[in-house]
């Protein structure tokens, strides 16, 4: 007679699944690049358009790559957090994604510039290589040039304190 208990057993499993599902975000796309080398790029800088910057320039250092744009509303939210993060000494580099140069420069001038260098990705090709699908996104890259973490959405003080800074410290020690 245990066959009568099969439906409720399946149902309980379903409810547990749905309960767990309430905590997840179905829209978030995890990156397949975690643990892989950061894709190569050589892009002109935002401020000095005659100079370029490449991820190879950062080998041997732990750094943070933040994807931003002047047309992005959520980027305004996270900007103060970035400025604080920069002040604390973490090297942050910006990827200005599908933006106009003048708009990007004006935005940084008005809001403050947390980036050591900002690079200019006009057509978003490098963004695609990095799996960018919604701005802002932030990557943590280690000394060997491997992507170790990707944050989708704006940075929050809590996230920086609990996840980002400890990770950067740990990678620094390695």
């Amino acid at each position: 007679m245990t066959r009568f208990a099969i439906p409720i057993a399946i149902f309980i499993a379903l409810v547990v699944l749905l309960g767990v599902g309430l905590k997840l975000d179905p829209r978030e796309v995890p990156s397949p690049l975690i643990g892989k080398p950061a894709p190569h790029f050589e892009l002109p800088r935002l401020h000095e358009s005659d100079k370029t910057f490449s991820e190879r320039d950062m080998l041997g250092k732990v750094w943070v790559l933040n994807v931003w744009a002047s047309w992005c509303v959520s980027c305004r939210e996270e900007h103060p957090v970035l400025l604080d993060l920069a002040k604390s000494g973490v090297p942050i580099y910006g990827l200005n994604y599908k933006d106009k140069r003048e708009d990007g420069l004006a935005w940084l001038k008005g809001m403050g510039d947390p980036y050591r260098i900002s690079i200019f990705d006009f057509d978003g090709r490098v963004g695609i290589d990095y799996g960018v699908y919604g701005v802002p996104e932030t990557y943590v890259i280690d000394k060997g040039g491997v992507i170790r973490y990707k944050r989708i959405g704006p940075l929050t003080p809590a996230f920086v304190k609990e996840t980002l800074l400890p990770l950067v410290k740990e990678l620094d020690r390695a």
Partner: protein, 659 residues
């Protein structure tokens, strides 16, 4: 004043629903005749108050009362009247109220048409429905109150989403909810049967018309949704296997299995515990659908704005209602016992094969819909499951069902003979094979998938003819053909019509998929393009203004062999309030084809990108669904369910049962 009245009405409805539940269930358990008799008027009172609440919300919409937050976010003073009314169910809170209204309408219907049931059964059914109503009313009052005020009131509302400003919005949700909610009656009958411990053929006969009626509404609701997506979204697609579409399709598949299973239980008293389980599962899937749309667990174009609290509440409701009834099932089902036996080859076994197929289909859709969630929850990565998966998996599952549709109705109860069936169906089989081989050429070219689809559709249609022929031939000999046709029961006609509707549906799907053509062209005024034998001439775009939008309206003249067939006016609209652009396709509907034109972007001052489709037989898809629903309606109104014919017998039976 009015919104507060509405809120009060809801609170009163909640009290009455709780009373209804208590009186019904406790009354039946204790044999208290007075309590049981009281459930009917209490249920009617609940309906009255829910209706009042709904009327209050509708009044707030119609009178543009923007002090009500829900009205302010879903309406606008420039919105035409019928969309102001449809806007009532345009957002989460109002659509939940619509849900509860439908539930109370069904409850009211049960109070009207349950006189022939034993009092105990009727009381239990109403009691269970009262419990479900109470759960939803609690949900509305605590998490989704549509009557909340907004101070200071905005000068005007945010407008109804332009995608919803469409006749489809007026018809689709009410029909769909009538179907979804209607399965709560089958569920209530099942739970009532489990509670009473008595589950017999009479029970099946009582619950069958209600289940069939709910199925009809759900069929129409889904078809309306599909048709609406077809002409609204501008892509010519009509089914996307979106999670919310699947959420409505799963109860439909289970409901189809249920109406066939009830046939076995009614005729032969067999497989009763399975039928009860199906009834519980069908309603469980309805509730699951509600959860999926409103909890944010899955992304869907249909999803309402979500809130974790709401998700938790609905999940709790689902857990209590379904968990409770499944526990009851574990406890009571073993006592139900077996019904009549039958051979491995018999009408019973074929109907149950139908059940296996439809249950497997519903299970597969559930699997595909929830699999990404399951993987994500177990940390195994994130995938997407979309139309390529469902199309691959679903069609092979349905093919055997279509085959059975031809054989089942002719098989004898208890024991059928294969050679006998084969000989009775040989002409139908021949007709089907002929259709599969020859018809594709009539459309232009032969294709294997098209042939398969036509084979199955022709098989269903031809075997339906064979079934009717046999019924008429076996009717009272000597009588005229007309008398014989009249002697065939409505239930049989209903079955034949519904099955024929399926054949029509399959023809539509097969021919559209096999032979549709489209062209995506850049047109200057005067340019022509030829698609499907029709010539489309672009005559430019001019600006027009609607009640709450501005648009560029194109003019396309369609000719065939030189003579004008029709003129089409596709539009590209911008709705002023939300500044949202929308494409309105222009469609010329025909019995054998649709001509579908939509505007792309303007590529210069005068030139536009225009997309032209020729879709052969696409309307047979929804025509087939309509026939299915009509067939179901015929079957549900069969003489044996109608009160007048039954009353003397039922009363005697009820009296005997009460002893």
């Amino acid at each position: 004043m009015i919104p507060e009245l509405g809120q009060l009405a809801l609170a009163l409805a909640l009290c009455l629903a709780l009373a209804q539940c208590l009186l019904g269930i406790a009354g039946a358990a204790r044999g208290e005749g007075v309590w049981m008799a009281a459930t009917r008027p209490v249920a009617r009172g609940q309906f009255a108050f829910v209706a009042i609440a709904f009327a209050c919300l509708t009044t707030s919409f119609v009178s543009n009362d923007f002090t009500v937050a829900y009205v302010a976010s879903n309406s606008n003073s420039a919105l035409p009247l019928h969309y102001r009314i449809a806007g009532v169910w345009g957002g989460h809170e109002g659509s939940m109220l619509l849900w509860v209204l439908m539930l109370s309408v069904w409850t009211f219907a049960v109070t009207l048409f349950s006189r022939h049931l034993p009092l105990e059964m009727a009381a239990r059914v109403l009691g269970v429905m009262g419990g479900v109503s109470a759960g939803f009313l609690l949900f509305i009052l605590f998490t989704s109150n549509p009557f909340l005020r907004l101070f200071p009131a905005p000068p005007d509302g945010r407008d109804l989403n332009p995608l919803l400003q469409d006749p489809g919005m007026v018809a689709h949700p009410p029909m769909l909810y009538m179907g979804y909610v209607g399965f709560s009656i089958a569920f209530s009958f099942a739970v009532a049967a489990l509670l009473s411990g008595r589950l017999d053929a009479a029970w099946a006969r009582w619950s069958r018309p209600w289940t069939t009626a709910a199925w009809c509404f759900l069929t129409v609701g889904i078809a309306l949704g599909s048709g609406w997506a077809y002409y609204e979204l501008g892509w010519g697609g009509w089914w996307f296997w979106d999670p919310v579409e699947n959420a409505s399709f799963m109860p439909w598949l289970t409901g189809t299995a249920l109406i066939h299973s009830l046939a076995v239980t009614e005729k032969r008293g067999a497989f009763r515990s399975w039928t009860v389980l199906l009834a519980i599962v069908a309603f469980a899937l309805s509730l699951l659908g509600t959860f999926l749309v409103r909890s944010g667990v899955l992304t869907s174009v249909h999803a309402f704005a979500t809130d974790p609290t709401r998700g938790i509440f609905i999940l709790a409701l689902l857990a209590i209602v379904i968990g409770g009834s499944l526990l009851l099932y574990v406890w009571r089902a073993p006592k139900i016992g077996l019904g009549g036996g039958f051979e491995t080859l018999s009408r019973e076994s074929m109907l149950l094969m139908n059940n296996v197929i439809f249950a497997a289909a519903a299970g597969s859709v559930l699997l595909g819909t929830l699999y990404p969630l399951a993987l994500d929850a177990s940390g195994l990565g994130k995938i997407s499951v979309g139309p390529p998966y469902f199309d691959t998996v679903f069609v092979p599952l349905m093919a055997p069902a279509l085959f059975l549709m031809g054989v089942g109705p002719l098989a004898r109860w208890k024991k059928a003979s294969l050679p006998d069936l084969a000989s009775r169906l040989r002409w139908a089989a021949a007709a089907a094979v002929l259709a599969a081989l020859a018809l594709p050429f009539a459309m232009g070219r032969w294709g294997a998938m098209v042939a398969l689809g036509l084979l199955l559709a022709a098989w269903v249609a031809a075997s339906g003819v064979a079934q009717l022929y046999e019924k008429v031939r076996n009717a009272s000999s000597g009588a005229s053909a007309w008398t014989r046709l009249q002697s065939v029961s409505r239930a049989t006609y209903g079955m034949l019509l519904a099955h024929f509707g399926v054949a029509v549906f399959v023809v539509g799907v097969t021919l559209v998929k096999g032979y549709e053509s489209e062209k995506d062209v850049r047109m200057e005024p005067g340019d022509t393009v030829e698609v499907g034998g029709y010539t489309f001439r672009f005559d430019g775009v001019r600006d027009v203004t609607g009640p709450n939008y501005v648009a560029g309206r194109g003019r396309i003249a369609v000719t065939r062999n030189g003579s004008l067939v029709t003129t089409l006016y596709p539009e590209k609209r911008i709705y002023r309030v939300q500044n949202q652009p929308m494409t309105e396709a222009a469609i010329d509907t025909g019995f054998t084809r649709d001509l579908y034109v939509s505007l792309g972007d303007a590529v210069s001052d005068t030139a536009w990108v225009v997309r032209v489709h020729h879709k052969p037989f696409v309307d047979w898809i929804w025509g087939g669904c309509l026939l299915m629903a009509l067939g179901g309606g015929l079957a549900a109104s069969d003489r044996r369910y109608r009160l007048a014919a039954r009353r003397p017998q039922e009363q005697a039976y009820a009296a005997a049962a009460a002893r």
